[in-house]
């Protein structure tokens, strides 16, 4: 498994062999089951959490969750832990008939398992209340929470934020500001540029990996068809050559099976990690957007405060009775501004830490994926060589 590191019971990547006194949280996503009928059909998973952390009610809990519950968790974390690269989820939609194929279900289960485990082993995320909720509440509660968040029922605060964003965008346009204010931090610029380009490169690599999976399948199929055709040809020939043909046909079909198997392995252990890498980069892009928003908010507040200061001074000079009001407003704004600054700085700090963690994690993930890929290809090639080789003495024997 290419994410074994996260599955070690200690939950932290540093200590694989910890005494039971060490805090741990281990999660697994298992047992996909199809529920419901027709268009409403969906897959449910068993999520098993084992822990000795105080915050959890029981040392072991099993709950039933579906894909949209995972989305809920992801979105909550994204809201509450800005600056952290939230582990990415596998894709939402899929071609209808593929959605319930065994391969797809297994791939998704694997990805969801990795998703939760990454959260459980992240030094900040693992303490989140949302994670505890996700791992513990029963299905009805979960369903309520889920529809509350992702449905039409948005919290009033969210609506306010949406209005504010629109407002500021409009005022930007009105004031003739074309581009939103951006940080001009050279290192950060470099990082952003790196992330955006990385996505392109990775997407290409992933595309080729997927094609390679297909090629294995296709080569397997054509070898199988060839084998069958050769067998038939052998049947219309007599004596030695007929036998040789049928042996070749049989071997061909055998090799075909090896290829089909490797195709599946490639999909699960090479192409999927690459896809995961792409998703991770996209998650970083989302964080970058968050940071930009936070920066803008902070800037705007700073501007507003300046205006308020000027206004306040004016009022004080004119000894207006609006002074009190203005002072209160000013103080509130100042508090907001400090809050915004803190938010922004948290994001910056977190991002810096996350980048280091991300790079290290990806080196490991890719290393594992490459190892599995090379092992698989070597295994396949050796298997093919052995299969064909065993045919040679028989062919020699056929020579008249």
């Amino acid at each position: 498994m290419w994410m074994e590191q996260q599955r070690s019971p200690s939950g932290s990547s540093q200590s694989p062999r910890s005494p039971s006194a060490q805090p741990y949280l281990s999660v697994s996503v298992t047992d996909p089951v199809k529920l419901g009928n027709g268009v409403q059909a969906y897959i449910s998973y068993r999520v098993i959490a084992k822990t000795n952390l105080q915050e959890y009610l029981c040392p072991e809990k099993i709950v039933i969750r579906r894909y949209s519950d995972f989305i809920w968790l992801h979105d909550r974390l994204f809201e509450n832990y800005k600056g952290i690269f939230i582990p990415p989820l596998p894709e939402k939609s899929a071609v209808e008939k593929f959605r319930f194929s065994a391969e797809f279900i297994e791939m998704r289960r694997q990805a969801l398992d990795i998703f939760v485990n990454r959260i459980a082993s992240h030094h900040e995320l693992r303490h989140s209340e949302d994670l505890r909720t996700f791992l513990q509440v029963d299905e009805e509660v979960m369903e309520r929470l889920r529809s509350y968040e992702t449905g039409i029922f948005k919290k009033p605060a969210d609506l306010m934020q949406i209005f504010k964003d629109v407002q500021s965008k409009v005022s930007d346009v009105v004031l003739g500001k074309e581009k939103p204010v951006e940080e001009s931090h050279p290192e950060y610029e470099k990082m952003k540029h790196y992330i955006f380009e990385l996505e392109n490169h990775l997407a290409e690599a992933q595309k080729q990996a997927y094609r390679l999976v297909k090629r294995h399948r296709e080569l397997g199929k054509s070898l199988s068809d060839f084998g069958k055709a050769v067998k038939l040809l052998g049947a219309s020939e007599e004596n030695a050559i007929g036998k040789a043909f049928s042996e070749l046909g049989a071997k061909s079909e055998l090799v075909s099976v090896k290829l089909q198997n490797e195709s599946h392995e490639l999909l699960m252990h090479f192409e999927e990690p690459l896809k995961d890498y792409v998703r991770a980069v996209q998650s970083i892009k989302a964080t970058i957007a968050d940071r930009a928003t936070a920066f803008r908010q902070q800037c705007e507040l700073a501007e507003t405060i300046k205006l308020k200061e000027i206004n306040l001074d004016k009022l004080m000079l004119t000894r207006s009775d609006k002074v009190r009001e203005a002072e209160i407003e000013y103080r509130e704004l100042k508090a907001e501004n400090e809050e915004a600054m803190r938010r922004f700085e948290t994001i910056v700090r977190r991002m810096n830490e996350e980048m280091v963690r991300f790079q290290e994690q990806k080196t490991t993930d890719m290393g594992v994926a490459f190892h599995e890929f090379a092992k698989g290809q070597a295994r396949l090639a050796n298997g093919i060589a052995d299969a064909w080789r065993s045919l040679l003495p028989k062919l020699e024997a056929c020579s008249v």
Binding site: E199, A229, F370, R389
Partner: protein, 571 residues
């Protein structure tokens, strides 16, 4: 997914550059660019004679090898290719034991002296068939090359200036067969001459499996460039002539010799076109109808041809209809059960061959695609490696870049191996296509037999009808006292006709028997050669699969080792 905020137009343009970059990036080779390697080009490239450097062969080869790159099996094995000093990658090839060395000889163990493991099979255009058999036969050989297409003007006396242009090819022959009188010679021939040769051979060698000549294929020439068409035709002509030269009987034929050797205009009677033949026939028909048309004995050895022998055609047609629908059995019937069984078997084999041939094509395409995609994957990772190295801020990135480079290099190598393997596979499995093509020749030979039989049957029918007429006349005339001068004359004419027809019948029967015998020997020869060639094909195919699988396994085994630090206890 591909969206990016920054203006990436320029950069993206050379992000995914051609494979040339891949070559020079990874292995520092004086690279040749990979041609647009679709299946067709793989096929045609493998078929073309290698006077031009093969674009798909590994870049380890230096610039175009000298012209006798197609190894004549009976000459000394070709000298090993000079090592290109700048291709340092060669030394990084580990030579695994067993088949990895042997694979490079696509044919019999004869060329096992090529052990430098380097030599690429610049694909010879010797059909595998001629090689595998000539190596075991006597020392006589004949090697034909078709080259140097040139445009020439039709010398015409017409009013229209300029006239027709056509293409001629240089046909060079090297041989030690004494009948030719010279070891090496060349002539210029045009396609029309090949048609003539083919037609004359068909006449002279009825009952033999004569390799079918290349199509006139007018349609295709409109679709592709003139150059491509000429090249394809050149290849096809060469293949055809070599097949003729490989046939034990036909290689000694006068027709072939004359075609290969006589300078200037081809001294074989040309086949006139259909229209003028019909015209010819129309002129002769009245004469045939008015006189008691008989088939002259010497003409009987040829099948009825439209135009010349309209009447004969009609008669034989009538006969064949009578054979099919008539109540009585024809006087001579194809009785040879063994032959009928063989015919059935040939038919069945043709179907299986066709199927196998198709599947072989799909297999080759799938192998080609695998190699291509593996190469593209390698290229994508090369780019990633470069990118990470350039942008590296953390050591983890540099470490990852190093891992990627190993993977990419291996993928590129594996890709090359797949393509090489495919070149070999194409050549080996080509045997299937060859024998499928030969089925046409078999059909022709069987048709010769049935038309000869038809001629015999027709003559027998005629003979019997003449005889019964004669009997009737005699009966009638004997009733008249003193004889009937006109009737007697008629009877005598009839008797003469019967005599001629008897002769013709005898000749026809002899011809039929001869063709039957030809069929039989050819079938024997076909069976024997086919077994040998197919066995070679299978062996070659398997040996190559093994050899290349070993090489590929080796490449990936190394990467698995290099990345073994990432392996965990489980899985």
């Amino acid at each position: 997914m591909m969206g990016s905020e920054n203006n990436q137009g320029f950069e993206e343009a050379h992000l995914y550059a051609s494979k040339e970059e891949m070559e020079s990036l990874v292995l520092g080779d004086p690279s040749k660019s990979y041609s647009n390697s679709d299946y067709r080009s793989a096929m045609s490239n493998s078929l073309s004679s290698s006077s031009s450097h093969h674009p798909l062969s590994p870049p380890l080869l230096p610039t175009p090898p000298p012209p006798p790159a197609d190894s004549d099996p009976l000459l000394a094995p070709p000298p090993p290719y000079p090592r290109n000093p700048s291709s340092h990658d060669h030394s990084s090839y580990i030579e695994p034991p067993s088949y990895a060395d042997v694979i490079f000889s696509p044919f019999d163990g004869d060329t096992s002296s090529d052990i430098n493991g380097l030599d690429c099979p610049s694909p010879t255009s010797d059909s595998p068939i001629s090689f595998s058999r000539s190596s075991s036969s006597n020392a006589e050989y004949i090697k034909i090359t078709v080259s140097n297409p040139q445009k020439e003007q039709e010398v015409s006396n017409s009013i229209v200036p300029g006239g027709n242009t056509y293409v001629t090819y240089l046909v060079t022959t090297r041989t030690n067969i004494p009948e030719f009188g010279a070891p090496e010679f060349g002539v210029r021939r045009r396609f029309r001459d090949v048609v003539t040769l083919s037609d004359r051979l068909a006449e002279s060698y009825r009952g033999f499996f004569i390799p079918p000549r290349p199509d006139k294929s007018v349609v295709e020439s409109q679709v592709m460039q003139k150059q491509e068409f000429v090249e394809q035709r050149r290849v096809a002509l060469e293949k055809y002539l070599r097949r003729l030269a490989a046939h034990p009987i036909i290689k000694k034929s006068d027709e072939l010799r004359v075609f290969l050797q006589v300078q200037g205009k081809l001294p074989l009677p040309t086949s006139t076109d259909v229209a003028s033949r019909m015209l010819d026939g129309a002129v002769k028909l009245p004469k045939q109808l008015l006189s008691e048309s008989v088939v002259a004995p010497h003409e009987v050895v040829q099948p009825a041809k439209g135009g010349r022998d309209l009447l004969r055609l009609f008669k034989e047609l009538k006969q064949s209809v009578a054979n099919d629908w008539g109540g009585s059995r024809p006087p001579v019937v194809e009785e040879d059960k063994e032959f009928l069984e063989k015919k059935e078997r040939m038919h069945d084999m043709e179907q299986q061959l066709s199927n196998a041939s198709q599947q072989a094509e799909s297999l080759v395409k799938a192998q080609q695609d695998m190699g291509e995609t593996m190469g593209e994957l390698g290229l994508a990772f090369i780019k990633l490696t470069k990118f990470e190295n350039e942008e590296a801020v953390y050591n983890s990135q540099r470490s990852r870049a190093a891992d990627m480079k190993n993977l990419a290099t291996a993928a590129v190598k594996a890709s090359r191996f797949y393509r090489e393997l495919n070149l070999h596979t194409v050549k080996h499995l080509d045997t299937l296509h060859e024998y499928l093509g030969l089925m046409l020749a078999v059909h022709g030979a069987f048709t010769d037999r049935s038309s000869a039989l038809l001629t015999v049957q027709t003559l027998l029918s005629e003979l019997s009808s003449f005889k019964s007429r004669a009997e009737k006349l005699e009966a009638a005339s004997s009733k008249i006292f003193g004889g009937d001068k006109s009737r007697i004359r008629k009877i005598e004419e009839l008797r003469e006709t019967i005599r001629v027809t008897e002769d013709a019948k005898n000749v026809a029967i002899r011809e039929y028997e001869r063709i039957k015998e030809n069929n039989r020997t050819e079938l024997e020869r076909l069976d024997k050669e086919r077994h040998a060639d197919f066995l070679n094909m299978l062996k070659g195919f398997v040996v190559n699969q093994v050899g290349y699988a070993e090489k590929i396994a080796n490449v990936w085994g190394k990467v698995a080792e290099e990345t073994s630090t990432y392996a965990r206890e489980s899985s």
